[in-house]
């Protein structure tokens, strides 16, 4: 079942078109990542879904609600974590949780949520004294406190150290497993690859691809590269004769083979038949980064 339908969304700021005819739908219970470089229109898209911005044209339906017309109702069922929105420095973690819990009819258990987010021992701390990662986790807690059906999380792991980032990813998976639909805005390939059930790839306001992470990677004509140092001399013909191999290059003692399909098993088999061992074997395969370059012609800036 689709919980969000976005159809031909267009949003302009002055003469600049931030979102240019984006359409997609989000299924209940999935983690849906909106991935793209900075300035691609990701935030504008989710802020339109959250009713914070009025689209210039196109339509959005969230759980059957119009985000602008039915703002009040939408806010009870959608939790949003925004970029660059802070709390007063002097407010304590427990006070912020109490305050935000008071906005909703059936809030989640505050203590448990703080426990889950690893903030239990920060209850009495003031917001201004928290680290970047702790602020980020509190922000996620506040987006979830109202027990929303949909959680929109914008760049949630930006500025976190690798450990905090992995902990947060685990948390997002737990949130999804509890039945919440999650929309994740990110410019981290690794994050989208690890978490998302489906990815909407956005570049300069347009939807470039919409698929599972594996599906997007497979759209790229994925060339694989294999490098190894053979234990005995290898004739080029031995390798170029294989249908999977496109090219063979040599860098001193190292052989580099590029190709497609089942390249690795094919090479291994032919080397084994000739009693040659592939030393220092390295394999490079296409990932989402390559897919992004292939689909947009640009690198995803970090």
């Amino acid at each position: 079942m689709n919980v969000i339908e976005v159809t031909n969304l267009v949003k302009r700021y002055g003469g600049h078109t931030a979102v240019d005819g984006v359409s997609f739908s989000v299924e209940e219970g999935e983690i849906f990542a909106i991935l793209g470089p900075n300035g691609a229109g990701k935030t504008t898209t989710v802020e339109s879904i959250g009713g914070l911005r009025a689209p210039d044209s196109g339509s959005i339906s969230v759980l059957g609600l119009d985000p602008r017309r039915d703002r009040d109702e939408l806010r009870r069922v959608v939790g949003i974590q925004l970029q660059e929105s802070e709390l007063p420095d002097q407010i304590r973690v427990s006070e912020a949780m109490d305050l935000y819990a008071s906005f909703y009819a059936e809030p989640l258990d505050r203590e448990r949520l703080l426990d889950d987010l690893g903030l239990a021992d920060k209850r009495k701390s003031m917001y201004g004294k928290l680290s970047g990662g702790q602020k980020q986790r509190l922000s996620i807690a506040l987006a979830l406190i109202g027990n929303p059906r949909i959680a929109i999380l914008d760049e949630l792991t930006t500025g976190l150290d690798p450990q905090a980032r992995r902990d947060t990813w685990q948390l997002i998976e737990d949130v999804r497993d509890s039945g919440v639909t999650v929309i994740l805005v990110t410019h981290f390939m690794e994050e989208a690859e690890r978490l998302a059930d489906r990815i909407a790839l956005i570049d300069t306001g347009r939807l470039v691809a919409l698929d599972t992470p594996a599906g997007i990677v497979s759209r790229v004509d994925a060339e694989q590269r294999l490098r190894f140092r053979p234990s005995a001399p290898v004739e080029d013909d031995l390798l170029t004769g294989l249908p999977e191999v496109r090219s063979v290059r040599r860098h001193g003692p190292t052989v580099e083979v590029a190709g497609t399909g089942n390249l690795v098993p094919a090479i291994m088999a032919v080397l084994a038949r000739n009693q040659i061992v592939a030393n220092e074997l390295r394999i490079e395969q296409a990932d989402l980064d390559d897919a992004f370059v292939a689909l947009t012609g640009r690198k995803l800036a970090n």
Partner: protein, 241 residues
């Protein structure tokens, strides 16, 4: 929801020691220090009145100026800059409730500061209690509303905290000056005294009510008018992000 926001805003207010010392204690301290030094004898040049009794209402102006043109709008501008209001607008709570909570806290602080000033002034310096208490309450409420509305108007239209500060500083100085905080009003030229009568929070109406004369309706009406006009424009134009 609104009471919760107000309660938290009140706690945050008192968590910054500089702010509540300044707004609650400073006016009383200044009155006592100045009063212990001079102005406690009836002065024939003032028609037999004591100078300190005439100066006391200027300390009310000081409280209201610090709160209305500094603390209240400054905090709202800061909240906007930090995205506190934007964050709130994603929840069922309206950012408007944050504004109302802030207004309630600042008005409460103004009343506490006023009561402290009147009580301590009376006990230490024998400054009489306001002789027209109802007229004084009206003059105080209208003057406070007018000044707070002006502060909110600046907060509403200022595009950045820098611009807001650039507007608050001269406005604050002007209110303090015309309210007789920097210099006793009798030293000012007649024109400035008359302008001061109609400048929020309306020093003359406070002084009249305190010393037993009914405040002039025209002065109160101007305060009401400023409240309505500035307050309406501020409410319409207020940017939450």
């Amino acid at each position: 929801m609104l009471t919760k926001i107000t309660a938290i805003e009140a706690r945050l207010f008192f968590r910054e020691p500089g702010v509540w010392l300044l707004t609650i204690l400073l006016p009383t301290i200044v009155l006592v220090v100045v009063g212990l030094m001079f102005g406690r004898q009836p002065d024939p040049a003032l028609g037999g009145r004591r100078w300190i009794d005439i100066f006391a209402p200027s300390m009310v102006v000081m409280t209201l100026a610090i709160l209305g043109v500094n603390t209240l709008p400054g905090r709202l501008v800061k909240y906007r800059e930090k995205g506190v209001m934007r964050r709130l607008s994603t929840t069922p709570a309206s950012p408007r409730s944050l504004l109302i909570g802030q207004l309630a806290v600042n008005m409460g602080v103004a009343v506490v500061s006023l009561v402290l000033l009147i009580v301590v002034g009376n006990l230490v310096l024998q400054v009489p209690l306001p002789k027209d208490p109802i007229g004084f309450a009206i003059a105080f409420l209208l003057g406070m509303s007018a000044l707070f509305a002006l502060g909110l108007l600046v907060a509403a239209v200022a595009p950045t905290p820098g611009v807001a500060t650039a507007l608050f500083v001269p406005l604050f100085a002007l209110v303090m000056f015309l309210g007789g905080v920097y210099l006793p009003r009798m030293l000012l030229p007649e024109l400035l005294i008359r302008i001061g009568d109609y400048t929020p929070p309306g020093i003359q109406a406070l002084l009249d009510a305190w010393s037993g004369t009914s405040p002039q309706p025209a002065q109160l009406a101007v305060m009401g008018l400023i409240t309505v006009v500035a307050g309406t424009v501020a409410a319409r134009r207020f940017r939450w992000e």
